[in-house]
Amino acid sequence: MSIVRHAATILVIIALFCPGIMAGGYENSGIGTQARGMGGAFRAVVDDWTAAYYNPAGYAFIYDNQLGANSAFLHLRNELIPSYRLDGIYETGVFNDQVNVNKHEIYSNPAGGFLVRLPIYGETVMGLSAFQPFDYNIAWKLYDLPLAYNDSLTLPEDQFVNNFDVVAFQLTLARELVEDKVSFGLGIQVLRADLIFNSVAFRDNPWEDDSPLNVRPFDLITEWNTNDGNGWGFGLKGGLLFNLNEKLNLGVTANLPFDITLSGSSRLEYYMPKITSLLVPGSESGEEILPGTTEYLFAAGGKIVDTADFECDLKLPFSVGAGLAYQVNDKLTVAFDAEYTFWSKYEGLDFVFTNHRGLTGAADTSDIAKEFFIAELPFGDTVLSHHAYPVEWQDAGKVMMGIRYKFNDRLTLLGGGAVDQSPAREATEITPQFVDTGTKYSINGGVLFHHGQWDFGLAGSYTDYPDQTVPDLVDSNEDGLFDSFAGVYSAATYETVLSFQYRF
């Protein structure tokens, strides 16, 4: 019993006093009804197929074969009151000072797998599963072109989008290292990453400051870009499970995804100023601005489209975790977990464009226009055709607590909670595409219905985020584009998980 007290004490201390190690970011909140109902505290419990995700070593102590699947339904209910003004004063067309909500979408996050015990080297438990270790999906409409800028064009509604998925196809192998005491599990993953990333950017007008083509509100040219790509990679997941005594288990895990290079296609749409006064035939300033000229591109109010291929390196983080599970009696199990994710490795997204196509006429032949439309921007000591969304995230921790109560042979009740740190410690790291505003608190609950060899589960969770104010527009990499999005952010996440499992 003293071991339990010591271990629990250590975990609580870790949780309360060490914010530096208290997983946020793009990490999936979890899979499985049982685990989610327990707040994610499942590393030392791991008695169903979802052990492939939480701790592969758990497979070694599962003595029946299993087939299961679940789907989590998530809804990010975020709000943003922007204050996106240049120098805090000058309007851009962003919906400032009003409550904006992210696009209504309840997205599903399916997972499934099976495990079988095979007579290999004694007995080895093998499983195949598919799940999403990283997932994020959000979309916003936050902007209209100012009427004085261009009263003829409108942008698509999916202006700020981050639809990021990494799916792991995992082969899991687990064995008992010490009979009934210690097991080891290894997951070998093939990772598939998919990304749709949209953004609205305000690009410096390339004309001279004293040009009538470059006065407010034509000084910043609205660009909407969408990048859709994917890539493949590998990952490893390992775990140990210690049955410390009849009541207490300790689970230790590590997850190592390798970097993935995403490739795909980009579409850059430039919504050009409509400066009617410069186009009036015979007007003093309009004499030279005729169709076909470079100046005309920047005054006629058209939409210029450039398409390109892109590549983007995705640096996924290493993470470690540990958990304790204590079986208080035949009915009640209590579990504590902690996880630490090295998000500092993640550097954001940098879309490097090649193979530009689609530009015609002066947009393609004029140096000033072409450089502008292919998004040539300063990058270090060079100029690169790219779009960068850099971040300086920090490592983040998460602690979880859960209980499981076997009400009777047909029903199991679940409850739990979690404290989850955001890797974005600086307010300026918060953007519409990533609304992880700070340390967040989750409350979880669920039920499992048992019917013969079948288990059916329902779990739900609510996650509350702190409000976060991003005070300034910041160009952190000095490429001329703002990397932050000023405003007041608030967020909440609702999750419902449905599952089934068949034991055979």
């Binding site: 309007e91 329902l458 739900g460």
Partner: protein
């Protein structure tokens, strides 16, 4: 079994709660959908007396352009025929009635009305003079008067006669303080005929004109807005303001000690500023005999004139306006060395300085808004801040805005007109009241 049902009910409640948490909150919208687009009025108007002999304006035309909100349209045109307040905006040096519209005035007004940030209002702009960039919207008597008889070939009963101030630059005091308001009252019936619903403003030289008009014609306008302007000719200490620019003009001209080489090129805006000012405040009008072709090719001769002529020729610039055109000469307020020349500067220019007009006028009951930037050209920031001090010292409440450009985009002259107009419109709208 009853316990099982309780648990099941609990789970169902949980599921329903989560479903409610996933309700659709709609799509964000800005303002585009609700905009009722206003219309544009382009209506050049002839001001015969006021612009009778204005240089290179033989038809006495004043360019005029206006914005009319949709609500003021007659019902048959999709409006509600509702009278609206009026704002007159005077363009800066060298710009015409299109200036504010070129910077998005109409679209901005549509947007702000749609968003409820301003009340619907009519906005009228006029042209500044484009020959020398402008005459400070002045019309002062020290510049000279002339009387005339027009159409002498008509029967005596139809003789048209009048008296002019400053014929070369035009009489904007009369135009802005009386004739234009009178025309608006008579012709623009969608404008509320109430001084509390009338405002005037401007940038640069336009702001000087706005304040000058409000001060010389109390009771016509009850709100005035100004942005970086020659509001205090001699600055805070009496030796700054324009006086710091005299050397710059001499340097810009490269005269070599000879004022007769003075060049009026439009590429020299600082020079043009002082030419326009000199034609307004210190003209050296000479007798003009004008032969005009008018109605039905009947010649009209101006047969009687009395002109104010400054006999001191120290700073006289001749032949900028050629004799075969009009022969209007002018006296600069500084000599060929760039030193202020007291008989012109102190006796003719400074009486037109607003701080010298103020004691004989009043701004009581007038809402005042002034914006200024340290990056303004021609030292206008210093002049503007000095005038703000003068006003506050005289007990007037002044709404001020100190603005600067954002990083990488300095607040030079007209780069921020769009944003300043937003602030001006909001100020005037609030001043108009309900």
């Amino acid at each position: 079994m009853r316990s099982f049902l309780k648990i099941f009910a609990l789970a169902l409640t949980l599921a329903l709660s989560l479903s409610i948490g996933c309700s659709d909150r709609g799509t964000n919208s800005g303002y585009i959908q609700e905009v009722e687009e206003g219309g544009m009025l382009v209506s050049p108007h002839i001001y015969f007396d006021e612009l009778f002999l204005q240089i290179r304006n033989p038809f006495q035309v004043l360019g005029t352009k206006g914005y009319l909100p949709r609500v003021a349209y007659a019902p048959i045109y999709g409006g509600r025929g509702k009278p609206v307040p009026l704002l007159i905006l005077l363009p800066p040096q060298g710009y015409d009635e299109h200036f504010y519209f070129d910077h998005g005035l109409m679209e901005l007004a549509d947007e702000l009305i749609a968003k409820g940030e301003i009340q619907p209002m009519a906005i009228l702009t006029i042209s500044n003079d484009l020959v020398f960039g402008g005459y400070f919207y002045a019309g002062c008597s020290p510049g000279g008067d002339s009387s005339y008889t027009y159409f002498p070939n008509l029967p005596d009963t139809m003789t048209i006669a009048g008296t002019l101030h400053n014929p070369g630059s035009g009489d904007y005091d009369l135009l802005l303080g009386y004739s234009l308001p009178d025309y608006i009252r008579r012709a623009l019936t969608f404008v509320i005929d109430d001084p509390s619903k009338w405002g005037i403003g401007g940038l640069g030289m336009g702001a000087y004109g706005a304040f000058r008009t409000v001060m010389l014609h109390p009771g016509v306008f009850t709100s005035v807005s100004a942005v970086d302007s020659p509001l205090d000719f001699d600055g805070a200490d009496g030796n700054a303001g324009f006086e710091t620019l005299f050397d710059d003009v001499i340097a810009e001209q490269a005269l070599g000690g000879d004022l007769s080489a003075f060049d009026s090129s439009s590429a020299l805006p600082l020079t043009q500023l002082f030419i326009g000012g000199s034609l307004a405040f210190s003209p050296h009008d000479t007798m003009v005999t004008l032969l005009a072709q008018r109605y039905m090719d009947r010649p009209a001769t101006i047969n009687s004139m009395t002109r104010y002529v400054i006999t001191d020729s120290t700073t006289l610039v001749e032949d900028v306006i050629k004799a075969d055109e009009n022969n209007f000469d002018f006296h600069l307020p500084f000599d060929v060395s760039g030193n202020a020349y007291a008989p012109i500067w102190e006796d003719l220019w400074l009486p037109n300085n607003l701080e010298n007009i103020l004691p004989n006028s009043t701004l009581d009951g007038v809402d005042i808004w002034i914006a200024t930037s340290a990056e303004a050209h021609f030292g206008y920031h210093e002049q503007t801040t000095s005038f703000i001090s003068t006003l506050t010292g005289a007990g007037y409440a002044v709404n001020t805005l100190e603005y600067s450009g954002y990083d990488g985009s300095p607040a030079t002259f007209d780069r921020y007109v769009y944003d300043l107009m937003r602030e001006m419109l909001i100020f005037h709208s609030e001043s108009f009241g309900e």
